[in-house]
Homo-oligomer: 346 residues x 2
């Protein structure tokens, strides 16, 4: 059906090898021949079969994007859409394809990983949203598949890109301190994800830096969902905080509801700062002051790092942190001129 190299060669009156050379821009081809071959290629609409090429070169031009989804987040969060956009754009630019694998937390998870990793389809991989105990990264290391993690990782061998979760959280909390709040609580994210850990660490750092005590009754935990935000807010109310730093917007939305029902005014009685700057943050009442992260750039960076790894023998291990910035709206209680103010992002 579709043309092969062989046939193009026949049409051009040369050998297979010459056509292959032309296609791959090899230097040693007579310009006359080159021209003739290109002519045939264009006329015939010939397109090399990448599968055959992959078999011969052991390169597929495919990178895998593997996301062990934690069920909840994917649904409501534009994080993945944006990340994929950043990845896609770079892939297109470098003539790579992207094989996407969302792996739900099922019993046969490992199977799915193995099928993918050992398939031979992937030149490399980008992994995002792993929990600390997920077997994916160890599996990738074992299979010797070049990869980069979106999200910091402890293992010294792992290349990663991340946003500055700790710094963002610290700035958020320091903003509250600057506004005179002293009993600052937090609704932390899941502690089996580094983003959850780091945002909590940033909270602690800010308090310590300003000599404020770290009070365990002011720390509640959620799993990034709205419901968990509600539950956590309920717990915190009895400790009478005058501000809460919440590890993501969705939990803040939940907290907002609970606080309102409890008759507490935001920001007058309790000031709120959240994290993520999803579209929803600007829309709730009052609009959320929140930490914005460059998600799309994060995806793009991940691809660049991966391509660098693929391009040559081991360079140093990449560890890249992108800055975050604080978007000031009304929930923190600051008086402002414009619609919103952006702070930081060094």
């Amino acid at each position: 059906m579709r043309l092969t190299l062989e046939e193009v060669a026949r049409l051009a009156g040369v050998s297979r090898s010459t056509v292959s050379r032309v296609i791959n821009d090899h230097p040693n081809v007579h310009s006359k021949t080159r021209e003739r071959v290109w002519h045939v290629i264009r006329e015939s609409g010939y397109q090399p079969n990448v599968v055959a090429r992959s078999l011969a070169t052991n390169r597929t031009q495919i990178i895998g994007v593997i996301i062990p989804e934690t069920v909840t987040r994917l649904f409501t969060d534009p994080f993945f859409s944006l990340l994929l956009r950043g990845i896609t754009e770079r892939c297109n630019a470098h003539l790579y394809h992207m094989l996407l694998s969302l792996v739900p937390p099922l019993p046969n998870k490992r199977e799915i990983y193995h099928r993918l990793l050992r398939s031979g389809y992937l030149d490399g991989a980008i992994v995002a949203s792993t929990t600390v105990d997920d077997p994916l990264i160890p599996d990738l290391l074992r299979e010797r598949i070049p990869f980069v993690s979106v999200g910091r990782h402890e293992d010294k061998r792992v290349h990663w890109v991340d946003v500055d979760n700790t710094g963002g959280a610290r700035i958020a909390v320091e903003h509250l301190i600057g506004l005179g709040r002293r009993r600052i609580a937090t609704i932390a994210g899941p502690q089996d994800m580094v983003a959850g850990q780091d945002r909590l660490a940033g909270y602690r750092q800010a308090l310590s830096a300003h000599n404020l005590p770290i009070d365990k009754t002011l720390i509640a935990y959620g799993d990034f969902t709205e419901e968990s935000g509600m539950t956590a807010a309920c717990q915190l109310i009895s400790s009478a905080p005058d501000a809460i730093f919440i590890a993501n917007d969705m939990m803040a939305v939940g907290a907002l509801k609970v606080l309102r029902e409890a008759g507490l005014r935001v920001p007058q009685d309790v000031a709120l700062v959240a994290f993520d700057d999803m579209p929803i943050a600007a829309v709730v009442e009052p609009p959320l002051t929140t930490v914005r992260q460059p998600v799309e750039r994060l995806g793009a960076k991940a691809v660049e790092v991966l391509l660098d790894i693929l391009s040559g023998p081991t360079t140093e291990v990449h560890r890249i942190t992108l800055p975050t910035e604080l978007v000031i709206r009304l929930s923190c209680g600051i008086r402002k001129q414009g619609k919103e103010v952006v702070v930081g992002g060094k």
Copy 2:
């Protein structure tokens, strides 16, 4: 490095073909041999090289998901996340991989399509979110790549799955009529997308069915973004509608802001019904009555249809419409018992 069939065969003391037969579950293999071979496979951790297999079988087990993104929607809308989830789940179940291609509206768009379609990597494709003039579907037809469209399509040769946009819109508007509204306006979606067209058609049908006039000054157009919703709402205010059906939630959020600033109360002065039921719909003030669509099922269905096409010689052309349902909250002005009421979804 990695094991090949040949080596497994040697270890098991049989020929390559026998190992191949075992792996592919061919019937005519002695159970003793089969056992021995499986043993070696398991011990050695052998995994067939799919690239080589693809070259031999002319099947890659990869389906392409191609989304010509209209820039705006992808950012804010969980539609894609959910769609991808539905697709992924079915792919995993059927041992297929998914190659994702988000194609921005760039000049070199066609190039990207061609590179992908003629690569030979795709057994078939799922396309979503195309505008009516996008060259993607014609290209797929020309290249004879089996595909299914997420979203209705006029061409008789095209298999598609869609949600009942028209029916959903009609129910939404009829709900407003049932509540006594008579000057019902609409903010329609982009008319170069069938979803935009169909939701407008449903609006018209509902009015006609109830002998209400179709008033051009009560129809404004947006592009599914919040800003366009604001602009459209501004236009409509001068026509003094007592209700607005808005083709998606994001535009409704924009409209809500404009109406509030104009001193109009929702739902007392103007009732609102939207479309999509994104998380944001439940969170704004007042919460939006909106049409919910089974996006995840839509993705799953698309895969099933595609696999059916791939499985055999041309069956009939699939045209599948999934039902929508109305989620009644406060923006339409109905008095309700519980937190929200769901209607329809036949």
